[in-house]
Amino acid sequence: MRPTRLLAILFALLVPGLALAHGPTRQKVTLEAEVAAPASEVWAVIGNFQDMSWHPAVAASEGEGGNAIDATRVLHLGAPDGPTISEILYKYDADKMSYSYRITDVAVEVLPVTNYSSHLTVKPVDDTHSIVEWRGAFYRGYPNNDPPPELNDEAAIAAVTGVYKAGLDALVARFASN
């Protein structure tokens, strides 16, 4: 998915949400993609929590704390002055090539989820290939009963799936010439 289309989907949602509350059923999404590069090479690209420039939707970011626990980052989507997602790192394991983070602040108009957490892992396949796995756990954007369609469980799953697919597709393309 091209970033412009991704943003169009994200911006189609225009209902305010509550910061703390969430819906009744947590959702999970797991996507993975095989990449034509050794795991160490892929980890070198995506293993820095402070640099998400590998994802086509991320135009700019700033952060603090490097890859230490409780490090933070603010992602700007689509353009350097675009809408933001604020995130915090809560697990980081360079040996396992894996880290976990959660969103601390995002408008449901940008990403229709609440209480979102995510894990990104690179798994070796062989000397020239690896698998990138991206997992998310989250509630829908609308915290109350009977959500509008743009903020229901399906909308949340579709939006997160779109973000993951765009990122993984970009990684596959990046290493395709290897």
């Binding site: 703390l20 009744p24 059923t25 809560y90 756990a137 009963n145």
Partner: protein, 322 residues
């Protein structure tokens, strides 16, 4: 015939019909994402049956005195009563609101169902599931605990940062206790105290149901969810930590932190107090913890998204159903 033996022999393991089945513990795990329930034989360490429970079930409570278990499906707003022996549904009702948690008042023939969206608890007849009344709580009640002697009911009112304590004789509010941030899971300790897990402040609040006073706080892992007790210790699932914190009940000091599966949620203990069972929501499994040695000893697969939010372990006493 013992309840579980009948269930085993009739339902799915005919070969065991003639064999005496030792009394043992079974777990009834609500799988929210796959809308079903896994029945796990904790001695054999295997899933013995999976039954459909439509509507994304989360809340669970076993009622060993009657041989029942109850489930709550928030998406369809349905509460169901099942027979343990046959694992078949006996009755169901739909509640207008946001049902999520369920607790059993075995002696009184009632169950309590929390209404996440309307700051109240429904009181239902345990057998018919007819509504008998409501109790007013703080905002977003989730988990509930009933005293061992049946004298009180406590609810974790998540968005009010409070625990409500009700007298189960009069059904009147006895205390509204301010705890940590966003309590979700709550349990009655063997010491008669209330333990509430605060997902927002990564702590467990200990409170006295008699006085309404907070008597202690335990700092645990990230996003604590559920609490169980064994061997003089409390065991707390940390959703974001993928761990279980173990703390002493006498000094409230964390003694160990155990790695379990991903997004551990529901937690309960076998009747002999030897085994703690943890539902791993992301991993689609339960972890088994030896309570004495504080080590993870095994894992059993479940359906998709096990929550097991409530008391989910029942023991077959070899006595049959009442």
């Amino acid at each position: 015939m013992p309840a579980i033996e009948r269930f085993l022999s009739l339902a799915f393991i005919p070969a065991l019909a003639a064999t005496p089945v030792a009394a043992g513990d079974f777990a009834f795990v609500t799988n929210q994402n796959s809308s079903d329930l896994s029945i796990l034989d904790l001695d054999a360490r295997t899933e013995v049956k999976r039954i459909e429970v439509p509507g994304k079930p989360a809340g669970i409570s076993v009622d060993e005195a009657h041989g029942w278990f109850f489930t709550v499906s928030p998406d369809s707003k349905t509460v169901r009563r099942f027979d343990i022996a046959t694992a078949t549904e006996q009755s169901e009702t739909t509640l207008d609101g946001g049902p999520i948690g369920v607790a059993v008042d075995g002696a009184g023939g009632r169950i309590f169902v929390s209404d996440w969206y309307n700051a109240r608890i429904w009181v239902l007849d345990a057998e018919t599931l007819e509504q008998r009344g409501t109790l007013e709580t703080g905002s977003a009640p989730a988990g509930m605990a009933v005293a061992a002697d049946g004298s009180w009911l406590a609810s974790a009112d998540r968005d009010a940062n409070r625990v409500s304590v009700f007298d189960l004789t009069t059904l009147e509010l006895r205390h509204a206790i301010t705890v940590g941030e966003r309590p979700f899971g709550i349990s009655a300790g063997p010491d008669g105290m209330i333990y509430a897990a605060n997902v927002g402040s990564n702590s467990v609040t200990v409170a006295d149901p008699a006085t309404g006073q907070v008597t202690g706080t335990v700092e645990v892992g990230e996003r604590p969810y559920g609490i169980a007790f064994a061997q003089g210790a409390g065991f707390v699932t940390n959703q974001y930590g993928d761990t279980v914190s173990v703390f002493g009940l006498d000094d409230l000091a964390v003694e160990a932190t155990l790695d379990v599966g991903e997004y551990p949620e529901g937690i309960d203990v076998t009747e002999d107090g030897r085994t703690i069972v943890v539902a791993n929501w992301f991993s689609n499994s339960v972890s088994l913890i030896d309570a004495a040695s504080r080590t993870v000893t095994g894992e059993i697969g479940t359906g998709d998204g096990p929550r097991a939010f409530g008391h989910f372990i029942a023991r077959d006493h070899g006595e049959g159903r009442p």
